[in-house]
């Protein structure tokens, strides 16, 4: 057993002394082309590949049981660094990472404490705060909606920041929040996303923010059909329904993957927070929504952004204490 471990370690250390090792990215169950989180990870990897002309390994797993296998498979093949997109990788990574001390791992959306792991988390509450402000400023009925995917603390963090931003932008703003479900299938249920949107429209909501993976595709579609505004998430989704998507809350998963790939075997491990100050989160502004965002709205949001970076506005992070002062779940 020891012999095998040392031979693996030896093989890996040989691999890491060479100037370059092929990096790898592991997508979560939603699949590579989900127009959201995973696709964003893919875009980051692709950008790195286009710039450097190098290749990278990638895999879309078929089931939870393959997580540990996938990490081990890439680690044994000498891939370095290995980037994982999604919090579900945390438990298997915690198991596997100690067997491959010379491989660098990078996990997105979750913190795993080990000397060879870089954990990247996003200050989703900050980006959500900004799009919450935009939603409130664009709303004519005085009611904005939030549709989450799976009901987990991570998604409540989005909802909480959104509610705080909306209420700070306009006094007495009504915020309606719904979660699609409690299991991972909630990330991929566009039909239910559509139904929830209709239910929120019946409560006067005229701007709806979807933080629900592929479920959000249904939210954005229904919002466009019913002629209300919607807000996309993770990747820039403005192009999906030009003129109907107010903006997108950007979570630069692509940057996280890109940076890890670029750092290569010299990846700096430890905790890494991506927030407004380092462009880790933000809101999307492009040709598809420039007519929707007025100069006043933009000025207000930019001012708030500067204040958040300076620490003058504190956006509450739901995950820190599992409570939300701006919204009652």
């Amino acid at each position: 057993m020891k012999k095998l471990a040392t031979s693996i370690a030896l093989a890996l250390s040989l691999a890491s002394t060479t100037a370059f090792a092929e990096p790898a990215v592991l997508y979560d169950l939603g699949g590579k082309f989900d127009k959201s989180f995973n696709e964003s990870a893919y875009n980051g990897a692709k950008r790195w590949a286009d710039e450097t002309g190098e290749k990278f390994a990638e895999v879309e797993i078929q089931s939870d049981a393959q997580r540990e296998q996938a990490i081990r498979r890439f680690a044994e093949a000498g891939k370095n660094p290995i980037v994982m997109a999604g919090f579900s990788w945390a438990t298997p990574l915690g198991e596997v990472a100690k067997d491959y001390p010379d491989t660098k791992f990078s996990i997105i959306d979750m913190v795993v404490d080990a000397p060879n792991i870089k954990s990247t988390v996003f200050a989703a509450e900050q980006g959500s705060y900004l799009v919450g402000m935009l939603a409130a400023l664009a709303s004519k009925n005085g009611a904005v909606g939030f549709i989450g995917g799976m009901d987990i603390p991570l998604i409540r963090t989005f909802a909480c920041g959104y509610a705080q931003g909306a209420k700070d932008a306009k006094e007495g703003m009504k915020v309606v929040s719904n979660m699609t479900g409690t299991t991972p299938s909630a990330w991929n249920d566009p039909v239910k996303g559509s139904e929830l949107t209709l239910a929120q429209i019946s409560q006067d909501v005229d701007v709806v923010f979807a933080a629900a993976g592929a479920t959000g595709v249904g939210v954005l579609q229904t919002a466009a059909d019913k002629d209300i505004l919607s807000i996309g998430v993770d990747a820039n989704q403005n192009y999906l329904h030009p003129g109907k998507v107010l903006t997108s809350m950007l979570k630069r998963v692509d940057n996280a993957v890109y940076n890890s790939f670029k750092a290569g075997v010299d990846l700096e491990t430890g905790f890494n927070q991506m927030d407004l100050s380092n462009e880790g989160v933000g809101y999307a502004l492009d040709e598809h929504n420039e007519a929707l965002i007025t100069d006043e709205m933009k000025a207000a949001v930019e001012a708030a952004k500067a204040k958040i970076i300076a620490g003058d506005i504190k956006v509450h992070n739901y995950s820190s204490d599992e409570s939300c002062p701006s919204y009652e779940f």
Binding site: Q62, A65, P184, E322
Partner: protein
């Protein structure tokens, strides 16, 4: 003689079915612009040419042996148990509860306890459809398949509430305590000086599965109960005439079937994940149907078919890891094998039967 000899029935027909499945999978791979020969080479290299590959192949095979046996014993009584998936899920719940809440001193005791508890939970889940079939005539296919959904919903409910530790985002239980962790094949075979990859989930439950094959073989062909089950399956009215209670046989067969499916959890829940996650059974309950069909409901056939499907699963995973063949194509290959070996069995059997009989006839004429 107008029956096929056993070697044609058991070897030639499955082999031809497999070749056909390979041919069509090869065409499918070729049609998306990949090299089919390379793909099959990767599948075989990745699953059979290293102890690492064998470890995963055997791990998947262990799951399929349990569920395959579960389906096949029900087949002997002409009961179609499609609920293996739900019974395996419930077995997982039983294993998780007993691992989490009883402080086991040693894994040997934990394995015995978990096997019994998993089997009990699986059997209990099969008992309700069995009772409805025996007493009310509700068709077992319909009830067992519906119970799969109830099992999934029950597990969802428990894993997002009662069983989930605080501050965790994933719907899963806590890790089981160290004392319940089963030794993997690396440790077991290491005792005999056989080197085996350390990084695979194959564990001692493989031997439990093999033991289960032997027990089921003895039960079906060498006990009174097995005889009763088989005669009930061959002809319900004849069995009744012989004094066999149909209620009793339906109940007992389904309880054994559910128990076998539930025992799968010692492999995937206790042996591999060491915690209970959503969808832990990963469809093994359904694969069990294909395994039982292909194995002709014989424990040894089930064992071989389970190995084949273990190979397909592990080979498919390797394909996804090392080529740009999308994961959907892996599912296509697996389904083609199921289609040809299970559903289209008659398509291969009928012409071979005719050919064989024609040859026999010629022989007798010549004589």
């Amino acid at each position: 003689m107008n029956r096929l000899p056993r070697w044609i029935d058991l070897i030639i027909i499955p082999a031809i079915s497999l070749l056909l499945a390979m041919l069509f999978s090869g065409l499918a791979i070729w049609s998306i612009g990949e090299d089919p020969f390379n793909a099959f080479k990767i599948m075989i290299d990745g699953s059979l040419r290293s102890t690492y590959g064998w470890g995963y192949t055997l791990y998947y095979a262990t799951n399929f042996i349990f569920t395959g046996l579960a389906v096949s014993i029900a087949f002997h009584a002409r009961l179609f148990n499609i609920g293996g998936e739900g019974q395996a899920v419930l077995g997982g719940l039983g294993v998780a509860l007993i691992c989490l809440y009883i402080p086991w001193p040693h894994w040997t005791l934990a394995l015995v306890g978990a096997s019994i508890c998993g089997a009990l939970f699986g059997a209990a889940w099969a008992a309700i459809p069995a009772f409805l079939q025996a007493k009310r005539g509700s068709h077992i296919v319909i009830t067992t398949i519906m119970f799969n959904f109830i099992a999934a919903a029950l597990l969802n409910f428990l894993l997002i509430g009662l069983l989930k530790p605080a501050k965790v985002m994933e719907p899963a239980t806590a890790k089981f305590p160290e004392a319940t962790n089963l030794p993997n094949l690396h440790e077991v075979l290491g005792l005999f000086g056989i080197p085996f990859s350390k990084a695979t989930p194959a564990n001692i439950s493989l031997f439990v599965a093999i033991a289960a094959c032997i027990v089921i073989w003895v039960l079906i062909w060498h006990t009174r109960l097995g005889y009763a089950i088989r005669s009930f399956g061959q002809s319900e009215s004849a069995a009744k005439y012989a004094g066999i209670s149909s209620t009793k046989i339906i109940m007992i067969t389904m309880l054994i079937s559910g128990a076998l499916a539930g025992m799968m959890a010692i492999n995937n829940v206790m042996g591999e994940a060491e915690r209970l996650v959503l969808n832990a059974a990963e469809g093994a309950g359904f694969i069990g149907i294909a395994v039982a069909l292909m194995g002709r409901s014989h424990p040894f056939g089930v064992f071989l078919a389970a190995l084949l499907f273990g190979f397909l699963y592990q080979g498919g995973a390797e394909l996804a890891f090392s080529t740009s063949i999308p994961r959907e194509m892996v599912v296509v290959i697996q389904s083609l094998v199921i289609l040809f070996t299970g559903a289209l069995d008659g398509m291969v059997r009928a012409p071979i039967e005719r050919l064989y009989l024609a040859m026999q006839k010629q022989k007798t004429v010549a004589e």
